[in-house]
């Protein structure tokens, strides 16, 4: 492995885009402000100059048209990457994502695959209020025909895109807005990431803390603090929200017997609810305590900082949930 370099999540994602555009001339990026502006979150900054306006394609504010155009181009043999500014805006393209991208292969009896990649920002924590902050990836994970991934680390930001482009079916990549500035070290030859499996980010034996995307960092911080109290939490990064990697989840649960789920989605009808159900179905007799869930309060995300902080999962919430689960101070 080459010497690691210091980089950010944003730069890792940009490098992934650059590599994909260089490796495969069928790849192109399209979306609102991806070119001249450099991307709403500056992910694609500089790519227009390098690859030109044909492959770094600014679109009108027409989510349905450009997502559908991505589907059509993918069917016709291209490898489009469509960027949607935020998951809230993706609702304007929901018809194309659900009624076309997710269904065409099945509806056509296997004739029409849609090798499309859609990237979008998700999540709260930046005081952007109720139309720019939601975590709806759990909704998308409800839909058969889609693959849903949530890179939480630099390696995944760098490696998931190429894997998604190689997938013959549509892949939605959810990038938590709070992660773009996270920095760390990444090998210069960091390669493709697996998009089928969850990962154990921290081994532990007392409790399984299951998180993804924007909540992984909080789960790891909580685990560090718990460790000083003698509680060893195993932290699982789901990475792929559909299909869920039941094997990795159940393997951990069977060893720790206690579960805390950390999900920035709303609790009702959520991804955390689905995982809870699967654990109950597959590992009920391995549990020593009720499953704990740390989710976003059932409220549109508010603007004021103290209210937003109170609405979304925080490290203290994870700590309290783990302590309840292990029966320590609960």
């Amino acid at each position: 492995m080459n010497e690691p370099v210091k980089t950010t999540y944003r730069e890792a994602m940009r490098e992934a885009l650059r590599e994909a555009l260089r490796r495969d001339d069928r790849v192109f990026l399209m979306g609102e402000d991806v070119g001249r502006y450099g991307g709403c979150f500056a992910v694609s900054l500089g790519l227009l100059e390098e690859f030109g306006p044909d492959r770094i394609r600014d679109t009108p504010l027409s989510e349905s048209a450009f997502v559908g155009a991505g589907i059509g181009a993918a069917i016709a043999g291209m490898r489009p990457i469509v960027e949607i500014m935020t998951v809230n805006f993706s609702l304007l393209a929901l018809d194309q994502i659900l009624n076309n991208a997710a269904t065409l292969l099945h509806m056509s009896g296997g004739q029409i695959g849609v090798p499309l990649v859609i990237r979008m920002t998700t999540g709260a924590g930046r005081q952007l209020a109720a139309q720019h902050s939601h975590s709806l990836e759990g909704w998308y994970a409800h839909i058969p025909g889609l693959r849903i991934v949530a890179p939480a680390t630099l390696d995944d930001a760098r490696g998931m895109l190429w894997a998604a482009l190689e997938d013959p079916d549509p892949v939605l990549i959810f990038e938590h807005g709070g992660l773009y500035n996270t920095s760390g070290e990444l090998a210069t030859d960091a390669g493709t990431a697996d998009i089928a499996r969850a990962a154990v980010r921290r081994p532990g034996s007392h409790v399984s803390v299951i998180a993804y995307g924007g909540t992984l960092g909080k789960a790891l911080m909580a685990a560090e603090e718990l460790s000083s109290d003698g509680i060893e939490a195993e932290v699982i990064d789901l990475r792929t929200l559909r299909p869920l990697d039941d094997e990795t989840i159940m393997d951990s649960v069977r060893r720790t017997h206690r579960v805390v789920l950390v999900d920035e989605g709303w609790r009702s009808g959520s991804l955390s609810a689905e995982i809870t159900a699967r654990i109950v179905e597959q590992a009920f007799y391995d549990l020593d305590s009720p499953i704990e869930r740390v989710c976003t309060a059932e409220v549109p995300i508010p603007y004021a900082k103290h209210l937003e902080d109170a609405a979304i999962p925080q490290v203290e919430d994870v700590l309290a949930a783990v302590r309840r689960a292990v029966g320590d101070g609960g």
Binding site: F28, A65, G68, A69, I71, G77, M107, S108, G109, G113
Partner: protein, 328 residues
């Protein structure tokens, strides 16, 4: 001279035969629906045959077609065998969508027929993308996109016309204006009912065409498709037509005046061509017999088709190459 004349007569006889194929195929579908052989929604194209037959003459095998849930006509003219369309309606494995789509979702990639879209306006973005791929690769292809007047009220319509014009995409927009969005008349839905005029505001050539006249449709579509193929950007045809039957088999058709329907039936595109070309009743009998044979063969094929084993229910949800072997 005589040879050219004969060729022309031969071609027009073929247009007639294609329209009759659609008409008789769908009349048979009604019978089969009543006999519960076909279920689900069944939207008939009867009355609108000149549109599909005329417009699709303009395409080459390498061109692409995107259609709506009222697409039996487009599918038949594009060359999907009547047998595999019928088998699809029977829900059999030998159907053109493997029994997964039914009447509203006919697909055939070999003939570049990309559905069968049952969301009004939902096919337009797809057509834009197919055309974008052709344009990016420098291929001189046309994507014909069929949709109804109802789609003009959808946001996707306006997004797509703008994008197609902006990026100069090789799309031939074929708006089948049959005057009703299901049960709601055009004038009840739109302040401005001149659809070609509205399309022209997106800076693309747009023409209204008599959709009951197969020769007029063919001529205009050929002209437009040629311009699209030559790099002239998207073109728009408003094909003014009428469906003689109700919206679907569930529709009691309470919203249309009987006199209006009768008035349009007097403009039946099949009768019009027969009169114009002076096709004799003997000749009609020959064509009808040929078409009837094709349809009875199709039914036989569908009846003989196997049902997909239920164990294969989740087949085609993910591709065989899906990482991890495919969800859930």
């Amino acid at each position: 001279m005589t040879r050219a004349k004969n060729a022309l007569a031969e071609h027009r006889r073929e247009l007639l035969r294609q329209m009759l194929r659609i008409r008789r195929f769908e009349e048979k579908c009604v019978e089969l629906y009543s006999a519960a052989k076909i279920r689900g929604f069944l939207h008939l194209y009867i009355g609108e045959e000149a549109v599909a037959v005329g417009a699709l003459q303009a395409l080459t095998p390498g061109d692409k077609v995107v259609s709506t849930y009222r697409e039996h006509g487009h599918a038949l003219v594009r060359g999907i065998p009547a047998s595999s369309i019928m088998a699809e309606m029977y829900g059999r494995m030998n159907g053109c969508s493997h029994g997964r789509g039914g009447s509203m979702h006919l697909f055939d990639t070999e003939r570049r027929f990309y559905g069968g879209n049952a969301i009004v306006g939902g096919g337009l973005p797809l057509a834009i993308g197919l055309a974008l791929a052709d344009r990016m690769r420098g291929e001189q292809r046309v994507t014909a996109c069929f949709f109804g007047d109802g789609a003009v009220a959808e946001g996707e319509f306006h997004e797509c016309l703008n994008l197609a014009a902006l990026w100069e995409l090789p799309v031939l927009f074929c708006c089948e204006n049959n005057l009703y969005a299901m049960g709601t008349a055009l004038a009840i839905e739109h302040k401005q009912t001149d659809l070609a005029m509205r399309a022209s505001t997106y800076e693309m050539p747009a023409w209204p065409v008599d959709g009951m006249d197969v020769l007029a449709v063919e001529e205009t579509a050929s002209h437009a498709a040629e311009a699209v193929r030559e790099g002239g950007g998207p073109h728009f045809l408003e094909l003014r037509t009428y469906r003689f039957r109700a919206h679907s088999m569930y529709d009691p058709d309470r919203y249309r005046d009987r006199a209006e329907i009768e008035e349009w039936k007097r403009r039946d595109p099949i009768d019009a061509l027969v009169r114009r070309e002076k096709i004799s009743s003997d000749e009609m009998t020959v064509i009808d017999k040929e078409v009837a044979g094709e349809i009875s063969d199709a039914i036989e094929f569908a009846e003989a088709g196997e049902l997909e084993p239920v164990e294969s229910l989740t087949r085609f949800v993910y591709s065989p190459g899906s990482p991890g072997g495919g969800p859930p």
